[in-house]
């Protein structure tokens, strides 16, 4: 039937296999899902630099079933996109699902979780970040004083140097004692 269109070259697949927690078949499966989001934008042949250049816009990504119901979907897309605006290339897409996969380590998951929850990007989870997380979780159904109470309680439990914010080191220390984290911070694709 003529020559088959090869989506990725051999060195590309090998590089993907080395740099992510996926095997070859997983990479091709993830590519299929990527393509389904915007078939007109993504070509068949992704060799060369296309894998990191062609980007799917944020709106289409937010409609994906894996992300649709997630209150943090926008933050997730912003963190994993190269420029920070939420549009993701295939490289970013693969990276995202690799971090969320079952095989990825606790360290890398906690790093990305910290970035996702750090809304203002100052490398610390301050009261503002905590409030926004809580509001996203409960869809604004808590009163302000309840939110403040919970935020203060969280800081009380986890702020070791008592500065009113969680640094990455403190966050990681506490996450390693949280047994549910690996279970919940996991997207199956």
């Amino acid at each position: 039937m003529g020559n088959k269109v090869v989506t990725f070259t051999e060195p590309q697949l090998e590089a993907y296999q080395d740099c992510t927690f996926f095997t070859r078949q997983d990479v091709l499966r993830v590519f299929k899902r990527f393509r389904e989001l915007a078939p007109e934008l993504i070509p068949d042949d992704m060799s060369g630099e296309l894998a990191s250049q062609i980007k799917i816009p944020l709106e289409k990504l937010e409609e994906m079933p894996e992300l649709k119901e997630n209150p943090f979907r926008r933050r997730i897309c912003e963190i994993f996109s190269d420029e920070g605006n939420g549009d993701m290339s295939f490289d970013d897409f693969l990276d995202m699902f690799s971090v969320f996969s079952e095989a990825s380590s606790r360290d890398i998951k906690s790093t990305y979780a910290f970035r996702i929850y750090d809304y203002d990007g100052d490398n610390h989870l301050g009261k503002g970040d905590l409030e926004k997380t809580l509001v996203a979780l409960t869809q604004n159904s808590l009163t302000q004083e309840e939110v403040n109470f919970v935020v203060n309680k969280v800081l009380e439990e986890t702020d070791l140097d008592d500065d009113g914010m969680l640094s990455f080191v403190e966050f990681e220390h506490v996450i390693s004692r949280a047994p549910e984290f690996l279970n919940t911070f996991h997207i199956r694709i």
Binding site: E69, T133, L160, V174
Partner: protein, 785 residues
């Protein structure tokens, strides 16, 4: 940052204003200076402020406004100062350059910088490259380090390319060898990862379930898959080492070959009872020969030894697998810092959302579940003070708990007695008398009674627990699970006692009887599970469609997982007497998976209650392990102590099944003196007690190490908190010095000293000297300008 937040709170609370008012020590001649300063500052900040003219009457607001402008400049400088502090310079941390340390540093470094700061990142990558050359690393370490770097994929590829190309340039011969070895190892690991995908059964089903219900329900199905995969090697072992030689023996050696015609032919009912046709096939112990299988000449395969050794083999395999899995689960999910405050709120906020949820119903439910949990915690913490129970209430509570445990024990005793009676009346007597009771019903009576007890008695337990009023729902769950498993264990223990004490002496081929009983238990368990699914889930859905008041069922994850534990322990109990039992169990698990998977999606609704999947997973594996040990003990009892039947099985003429091994060892001892010496040494009491003492010492040592680590962690925490306070204190001090000192600098002399003493927050003489010296240093500088 500490002082920043301090200052902001000061501003908010007006404390700052108060402090300023306290320390205001102006003389009227300051006003001119003040005005100049104000003008300069206003020019700097471009603000037009209606500052009242230099009038000693309102020094308050004047200096507040000025200081506010100054504070913004101060804030900026403090931020810069803070970023220079050593605790922020994580890449300057002196650490030993081992690979784990390097990987952690890579993670920490990459986080410490902003990911958008490309320039800084390149510097770090270079420094990382230099360090990788220092460490004697192989390619797989590089790959691992690159894979775990928290940066984008494109950069990772570039980094990997650069690192790999650098590696190849300066390799000595030993390094080359290591390089090739590393590549080979990497390839095998990839192949292994590819093959592991074969075990990725049912991942599409799991995705659907997880999307609709979350990880709690999915954990049941993952547990089921794990148990299934564990049974496959057991099946292969028994099939390869026992069943196939027996079949070969049957068909090639024995005369007449094949299955004897005089025994029953196959009718459909045997699937249910396991007796009849199956009794005289490889299914049961009684069928196996005690002779040697000799298909190829001179190659004797002695069935006696094969049977025992295979048994030992699969129990050992299960022991290793279970022990490893329990430890892994415990370490992964139960990392307990020991005695410190638990992380309710943190877990709620940061581990509360299940990222696997895909359906809208589940996500709405999850949000309301989190909301409920927060409300519960809020109420709980408010109620703590108000909840001092009266003495009478406490007495009543404990009396009820005592009473309920009595009820539980009596129920256990009752069930045990019932099992025993049913076994005697209905299982043994018909076999002996050949009386006219209906064969199928009487043989199935015991399993049905057992399963019925297991269905209804836990409901009584639930009723008791509802009234026991536990402080946390998880305690209720744990107690219920314990009682449920105790019930199952009691009934199985009674059965085992019955089999070994009574059936073994009354029946001719008791091992086959035991095998058949266990087979029937497994089949009836399957029927009851399917029945539960049908009635409790499917029918409830139909009813809920007609009546609006009845809701669809929730999937009882805990109950079903414990049923899996029970069925697997039956499998282990029966392995010795029914070598083909793993096949039955595998088929049973596959059927259960598909039925439950479709039932859950069609008939059940997601649960509102939070379910700690990881903690309970550890508990389930723990129960599995305990039941495995109990089954091993029971089977061991049978092997070592009970006399095998005379007319059937591989151990026909021995006193105990284990006697074959002791005979072999005795023979070795006779042949060889060294072996004799070695054996007598190993089995001597001195050696064994020495071994036990040694193990006890290791245990004690590890425990002491753990306790000391725990104490150290506590001390570090206290140290960390006080370090934070140190920073606050010093920054506060500097702030005060700078603000006051600048103003008081216009009037050096005794006034300066008084001012310094007044504003210095430190009480010690050394502190005051420090403050004074800093202030004076600040004075000299402007004087020099």
């Amino acid at each position: 940052m500490a002082s920043e937040s301090n200052l902001s709170t000061f501003h908010e609370n007006g404390v700052y204003r108060r402090r300023v008012a306290e320390n205001a020590q102006y003389s009227p001649s300051d006003e001119e200076e003040e005005e100049n300063v104000t003008v300069t500052l206003r020019k700097q900040t471009g603000q037009q402020n209606g500052v009242p003219n230099g009038d000693g009457g309102t020094p308050f607001s004047t200096e507040f406004v000025n200081d506010e402008m100054e504070e913004s400049l101060f804030d900026q400088s403090m931020v810069e100062l803070r970023n220079e502090l050593p605790s922020r310079q994580l890449d300057a941390l002196p650490e030993s350059v081992t690979w784990t340390a390097l990987r952690r540093r890579a993670t920490v470094i990459y986080h410490a910088t902003m990911t958008n700061n490309r320039h800084r990142e390149d510097d770090l990558v270079d420094s990382l490259e230099r360090e990788i050359d220092l460490v004697d690393s192989s390619p797989q370490n590089i790959v691992e380090a690159v894979r775990t770097m928290p940066t984008t994929l494109s950069r990772k590829r570039n980094i990997k390319r650069r690192l790999s190309s650098r590696r190849k340039t300066n390799l000595t011969r030993t390094k080359l060898v290591k390089y090739w070895f590393g590549m080979f190892w990497q390839q095998t690991k990839y192949q292994f990862r590819k093959w592991r995908r074969i075990f990725d059964l049912w991942s599409s089903h799991l995705t659907v379930i997880e999307g609709c219900f979350g990880t709690s329900v999915a954990s049941y199905f993952i547990f089921l898959k794990w148990v299934l995969l564990m049974n496959i090697p057991i099946f292969l072992l028994t099939f390869g080492f026992l069943v196939i030689p027996q079949i070969l023996y049957r068909f090639y050696q024995l005369d007449p070959s094949g299955y004897e015609e005089k025994y029953d032919s196959f009718t459909g009912i045997e699937i249910l009872t396991g007796a009849g046709f199956f009794t005289h096939t490889e299914m049961y112990y009684g069928f196996y020969t005690d002779e040697a299988v000799e298909i190829v000449t001179d190659l004797k395969y002695k069935m006696k030894y094969a049977y025992l050794l295979t048994c030992g083999g699969y129990y050992l395999f299960c022991l290793i697998l279970l022990g490893y899995s329990y430890l892994k689960s415990y370490r992964k999910y139960y990392i307990d810092a020991g005695g410190t405050i638990s992380l309710y709120y943190f877990n709620l906020v940061y581990c509360g959302w299940d990222y696997g949820i895909k359906s809208q119903e589940a996500s709405a439910l999850k949000q309301s579940s989190i909301y409920q949990e927060i409300k519960e915690y809020l109420n709980g913490s408010n109620m703590d003070q108000a909840n001092r129970k009266s003495r009478q209430d406490m007495c009543r509570k404990w009396a009820f708990i005592f009473f309920s445990w009595l009820v539980v024990l009596s129920l256990l005793a009752g069930s045990g007695y019932l099992t025993y009676t049913v076994s005697i009346e209905l299982s043994i007597k018909p076999e002996l008398d050949n009386s006219t009771s209906i064969p199928v019903v009487s043989s199935l009576a015991m399993p049905v009674v057992l399963s019925t007890i297991q269905l209804f008695v836990p409901m009584i337990f639930t009723l008791l627990e509802k009234n026991e009023n536990y402080s946390q729902p998880k305690y209720e769950l744990y107690v219920h699970m314990f009682r449920d498993m105790a019930l199952k264990a009691t009934m199985l223990a009674v059965l085992v006692y019955f089999w070994f004490k009574i059936a073994a002496y009354e029946l001719e081929c008791w091992e086959t009887f035991v095998g058949e009983e266990i087979y029937r238990l497994v089949i009836v368990d399957l029927i009851f599970t399917l029945g539960y699914s049908f009635f409790m889930e499917f029918c409830r859905k139909l009813i809920s469609q007609k009546l609006k008041s009845v809701e669809r069922a929730e999937f009882a994850t805990g109950r079903h997982t414990l049923e899996l534990v029970y069925s697997q322990s039956l499998c282990w109990l029966g392995l010795f007497y029914c070598p083909l039992l793993p096949v039955v169990v595998i088929l049973k698990l596959i059927i259960i998976f598909y039925i439950k998977r479709f039932s859950v999606v069609q008939n059940c609704r997601p649960s509102l209650k939070p379910w700690r999947a990881s903690r309970t997973h550890t508990i389930f594996v723990g129960y599995l392990f305990v039941f495995f040990i109990l089954s091993c003990i029971a089977v061991g009892f049978g092997i070592f102590l009970i006399e095998p039947s005379i007319s059937c099985g591989p151990y026909k003429n021995y006193d105990t099944s284990y006697q074959v091994m002791t005979d072999v060892i005795d023979k070795w001892k006779e042949d060889n003196d060294v072996v004799k010496e070695a054996f007598s040494f190993i089995t001597s009491p001195g050696f064994i007690s020495g071994l036990l003492v040694f193990l006890g010492m290791i245990l004690y040592y590890t425990r002491t190490v753990m306790l000391s680590h725990r104490e150290r962690v506590e001390q570090f925490k206290i140290q960390l908190a006080s370090e934070g306070k140190d920073k606050k204190f010093l920054l506060n001090l500097l702030n005060q010095v700078r603000v006051r000192g600048r103003r008081a600098s216009k009037h050096p002399g005794p006034r300066l000293h008084r001012t310094m003493e007044a504003i210095s927050p430190s009480q010690s003489a050394g502190g005051k000297v420090f403050v004074k010296s800093v202030a004076e240093g600040a004075l000299i500088a402007p004087a020099n300008n």
